[in-house]
C-alpha cells in the first residue's frame, strides 16, 4: 500500500519535471534543426544533423554581445544604486531618532502597490522634457526606483534586529555615524543585501517593456529587448530564432545553475517579506 502510494507520488513528480522542462528542451532541439524539420511539426524528434551553424548565423546577424554588454552594464549600475540608496535609508529608518521615520517606510510600502506600467507614459513625458529618452539613464532610473521599496523593507527589517551594543561602543570610541554605517552595519547586513541583489537582478535582467518604451537606439538595447528585435526581424529562419532565444536564456540559466539554492531562497524571502 505504502509502496504503491510512493510510486504514484514519484510518477506525479516525474510528469511535472517533463511538463516544466520539456518546452525548454524542445526549444533547444528546435534551435538545432533545419527549417524543413521544424515545419514538419513533429513534437518529439532529435535533429538528424545538429545545425550548429544556426548559432553562428544568429551570432553574426544579431548583436548578441552588444545586448549582453548593455544588460550587464544597466543591471550592474542599478544593483549598486539600489543597495547604496536602500541601505542608507533603511539605516536611517531603523536607527535614527526622527519623527518621520515610520512615515518614510509607509511611503515605500504604499509604493509597492503601484503598478509600474501606470508610470510609463508620464515618465516618458518627463524624460522627454529632461532629454533623457533613449539614454541608459532612462531605464536605470525607473529600474532603481521600483526596486527600492522591497529593498528598503527587507533591509530595515534586518537592521532593526541587529543588537545596538556594537554601535554603542563604536560611538563611545568616537566613530562617526557614517563610519559605523560603512564598517559595521553594511558588512553585517550582507545576507539580506544578497537577497535584495537576487530579487533585483532577476527582475531587471529580464525586464522588457520599460526598455522597449524608453530606448530606441540599437546600441543601447538590453538583452530581452534585443532578443525581441531579433525575433521580429529574422522571422524566416526558425532555427536562427531558436538559437538566439537559447543564447538569450543562457546567461541567467548559467547563473541559476551555479547559485540555484541562493536564488530560490532569496526569491522566497522576497515573496514572504513583500
Amino acid at each position: 500500500m505504502l509502496k504503491a502510494k510512493k510510486g504514484f507520488v514519484y510518477l506525479l513528480f516525474a510528469i511535472l519535471v517533463v511538463t516544466q522542462l520539456y518546452p525548454l528542451f524542445w526549444l533547444l532541439m528546435y534551435s538545432l534543426k533545419t527549417n524543413e524539420e521544424i515545419l514538419s511539426g513533429s513534437f518529439f524528434s532529435l535533429p538528424t544533423i545538429p545545425q550548429w551553424h544556426n548559432y553562428s548565423e544568429a551570432y553574426t546577424s544579431g548583436s548578441y554581445l552588444k545586448y549582453l554588454g548593455n544588460s550587464v552594464l544597466v543591471t550592474g549600475v542599478t544593483l549598486v544604486a539600489v543597495i547604496i540608496l536602500s541601505a542608507m535609508t533603511a539605516y536611517a529608518i531603523s536607527r535614527f531618532k526622527w519623527k518621520y521615520g515610520p512615515y518614510v517606510l509607509l511611503l515605500f510600502l504604499l509604493g509597492m502597490m503601484i503598478p509600474m506600467q501606470a508610470t510609463l507614459l508620464p515618465l516618458m513625458i518627463i524624460f522627454k522634457n529632461l532629454d533623457l529618452l533613449d539614454t541608459r539613464w532612462s531605464i536605470i532610473i525607473p529600474y532603481t526606483a521600483f526596486a527600492l521599496p522591497i529593498a528598503v523593507f527587507i533591509l530595515s527589517g534586518f537592521m532593526r534586529s541587529i543588537p545596538t551594543d556594537i554601535e554603542e561602543s563604536a560611538f563611545m570610541d568616537g566613530a562617526s555615524v557614517y563610519r559605523i554605517f560603512r564598517s559595521i552595519i553594511l558588512p553585517i547586513s550582507m545576507p539580506p543585501v544578497m537577497t535584495v541583489c537576487i530579487l533585483t537582478f532577476i527582475n531587471i535582467w529580464n525586464e522588457y517593456i520599460v526598455a522597449a518604451t524608453f530606448i530606441s537606439s540599437e546600441n543601447l538595447k538590453t538583452l530581452p529587448f534585443g532578443v525581441y528585435t531579433f525575433v521580429s526581424q529574422y522571422s524566416v529562419n526558425y532555427g536562427n530564432i531558436g538559437a538566439f532565444l537559447i543564447m538569450g536564456a543562457l546567461p541567467v540559466i548559467i547563473i541559476y545553475f551555479l547559485l540555484s539554492e541562493r536564488i530560490t531562497k532569496g526569491m522566497v524571502a522576497g515573496a514572504v517579506k513583500g
Binding site: K5, V9, Y10, L12, F13, L16, P23, L24, L27, L39, G41, F43, L85, S86, M88, T89, Y91, R95, F96, W98, V104, M113, I114, M116, Q117, A118, T119, L120, L121, P122, L123, I125, I126, I141, T144, A145, F146, V152, E167, V177, F181, Y208, P224, F225, V227, Y228, Y238, L245, G248, A249, V252, I253, S260, E261, I263, T264, M267, V268, V272, G274
Partner: protein, 296 residues
C-alpha cells in the same frame, strides 16, 4: 541607546537621495498622469482641457474597456487556481520525497527566464500546424486533428492560451513558496500529534492547513497582484490582439497611449489601473485577515 540622535543634516544625507529618486520616479508620474488624464492630447500638439470626459468615455463608451477588466480579473482567478494544487504537491513532496528541494529547484527554472524568451517559446509551441507548432503536433499524433487550432490568432482560444502559459511559468514559484512553508512547520508538532493518534490527512487537516494559512495568503496575493499587472507576457505574445481579444487593463492602457497616441485617454486608463490595484489590494488583505482570524 535605542536610537541614534543625529543632526537633521545627517538624516537628510542618508534619506534624501533615495527618497527624492523614489518620489520623483513613482509618485510624481502618477500625479502627472492624474493631470494628463483630464486632457485631450496627442503628445505633440496643444493639449485641451476636457475635465472628466476621458473617464466618461472610458467607463461608458469604450467597448474594449470592460471586457479588458473582466479578462484582468479572470487572469487573477486562473492564476490562483493552481495554488491549492501547489500546496498539495508541497505536502506530498515534503512527506514522500527525499531531497524534495532539488526537484523544486528544477520546477523553478521557468520563473527566472525573461517573458520575452518564454513568450516566443510558447508562440512557437502554439503555432499553427503549417508552421510546426508543438501543441498541434501532439494533438495530431493523438488522433485529435479536429482539436488543432491556431491558438494565438483565434480570438476564442487566445486568452486561454495566455492563462496557461502563466500557470506553467509560475507553478514552480508557488510550489517553492508552499514547500518552504511546509518545511518550516516543526517536526515535533507532527510527532506529538502522532502520539495523540493523528497522522496522515488528519494531521494535515489540523496542523498543516492552519499553520500554512499565512504562506498561502502570500501566494494568493502575489498571484492576484501579479496578474492584475499581467502585461509583459501578453505584450510579447499577442500585444492584446487578435481584435482586442486578449486586451487586459494594462495592455489597453499601453496601446492607447503608445500606439494610438492618445496620451490623455491612456492616462485615464492608467489612473483607473492605479486605483483598481489599490482597492483590490486593500480588499484582499481585509478578506484574508478575517479568514486568518477564523482559522487560527
Amino acid at each position: 541607546m535605542n536610537v541614534l540622535k543625529v543632526p537633521a543634516r545627517t538624516i537628510a544625507i542618508f534619506v534624501l537621495p533615495c527618497l527624492l529618486l523614489y518620489i520623483g520616479t513613482v509618485f510624481v508620474p502618477i500625479l502627472v498622469s492624474f493631470y494628463t488624464a483630464t486632457l485631450d492630447w496627442n503628445g505633440i500638439g496643444d493639449a485641451k482641457f476636457v475635465g472628466l470626459a476621458n473617464f466618461h468615455t472610458l467607463l461608458f463608451e469604450d467597448n474594449n474597456f470592460w471586457p479588458s477588466v473582466k479578462r484582468t480579473l479572470m487572469y487573477s482567478v486562473f492564476s490562483m487556481i493552481e495554488i491549492p494544487f501547489c500546496l498539495l504537491f508541497a505536502i506530498l513532496l515534503n512527506r514522500y520525497v527525499r531531497k524534495g528541494s532539488r526537484l523544486v529547484t528544477i520546477y523553478f527554472v521557468p520563473v527566472i527566464l525573461s517573458n520575452v524568451i518564454l513568450g516566443q517559446l510558447w508562440k512557437t509551441i502554439y503555432n499553427p500546424t503549417s508552421m510546426g507548432g508543438m501543441l498541434n503536433g501532439i494533438l495530431i499524433q493523438l488522433g485529435l486533428e479536429n482539436w488543432t487550432h491556431s491558438w494565438l490568432t483565434e480570438p476564442a482560444t487566445a486568452m486561454y492560451a495566455l492563462y496557461f502559459v502563466s500557470l506553467w511559468q509560475y507553478f514552480g514559484y508557488h510550489l517553492l513558496i508552499q514547500f518552504t512553508g511546509v518545511q518550516n512547520i516543526p517536526d515535533e508538532i507532527y510527532e506529538a500529534a502522532k502520539i495523540d493518534g493523528a497522522d496522515g490527512f488528519k494531521a494535515d487537516r489540523y496542523i498543516t492547513f492552519p499553520m500554512i494559512v499565512p504562506i498561502f495568503k502570500i501566494s494568493i496575493v502575489l498571484a492576484f497582484i501579479g496578474s492584475l499587472q499581467a502585461f509583459e507576457l501578453v505584450m510579447v505574445m499577442t500585444g492584446g490582439g487578435p481584435a482586442h481579444a486578449t486586451d487586459t487593463i494594462a495592455t489597453h492602457m499601453y496601446n492607447m497611449s503608445f500606439l494610438s497616441q492618445k496620451y490623455g485617454y491612456g492616462s485615464a486608463v492608467a489612473t483607473f489601473l492605479v486605483v483598481f490595484c489599490l482597492i483590490v489590494t486593500v480588499v484582499i488583505n481585509f478578506i484574508f485577515n478575517k479568514v486568518e482570524r477564523k482559522v487560527t
